[in-house]
Structure formats: C-alpha cells, structure tokens
Subunit: 86 residues, 2 copies
Amino acid sequence: GDAKAGRAKAVGCQACHGLDGLSKLPDAPNLAGQVEPYLVKALTEFRNGTRKNEVMSVAAQDLTDADIENLAAYYSGIQIDVIPPG
Amino acid sequence: GDAKAGRAKAVGCQACHGLDGLSKLPDAPNLAGQVEPYLVKALTEFRNGTRKNEVMSVAAQDLTDADIENLAAYYSGIQIDVIPPG
C-alpha cells in the first residue's frame, strides 16, 4: 500500500480514529502502528459484511482494494513506542 | 476491570498478542494501549458470535464477564507513545 495516498484517504477516518491513529471515541479503536495485514483484513471484512459495525459497515462500502491497502499502509506506518508493563 | 487479574489471564493471550500487547502474528492486532470499551466489545462479540475469528471465537468461550473486563483493563493500561506522522 501507498501510505501517502492512505493519509489523504484517512481524512474520512479521522473523526473517529484520528489522523494520528488515536481514537476519539470509546467504541473506536486506536489504529496507530496497528498490524498492517490485520487492518487490511478488518476493512475487507467490514466491506464484505463478514464483520459488522454500525459505522464501519457503511464507511467501508466506498473503499476500493487500493484504498484499503493504502489506509492500512498509512496507519500501520505510524510509529508507536510501548512502555512494557511492570 | 482489575488490570492485575487481567495480566494473569493474559498468559492465555500472549502467544498471539504478547504480554506487552504487541502482536506476534500478522493476523493478530496489537492490544497495547487499546481503547478499553473497544476491547470489552470485541471480546464480548467474539464470545457471543457476533464477531467471528478462527482463534478468538474459541478462545473467548472460556472468558467470564469479569475476565473480559480484567483483560481490557490490563491491555488498555499499557502505556503507548505515538510519534505523530509528518
């Protein structure tokens, strides 16, 4: 996927997931640094109806395969540091 | 939820999701710092069949409501820092 194209497409995701991949809502997951194939799978499953969510089942309908790959590249590419739990 | 109890329960999650919440597999998401209500919802939906996944649909069957709350408290409580994309 093309992260730069994904960033442009992520304008449609940012109200819930943030352009930085940090959730704005209790039901929306963080996407920053998320595993790329997992993101592709999630969006594909929302689009084909395997996975259902009031918002995402609608939002994913407009995405092409390239959009999904680009969005996954963008959000997975955001760097995160994890402070290991004690 | 009780994060300490969640950490003990997370021994059953770590092969795929890591005890630090960082994925070990391409299909498994990172859980570190994930939104707590989102994690509760995801586990509840895997348990009741609303959401399906080969591994999680089985793994979630053994979880009580308290287990789900505790696991969500544990994984959401792992601190993450996000380096904002340029």
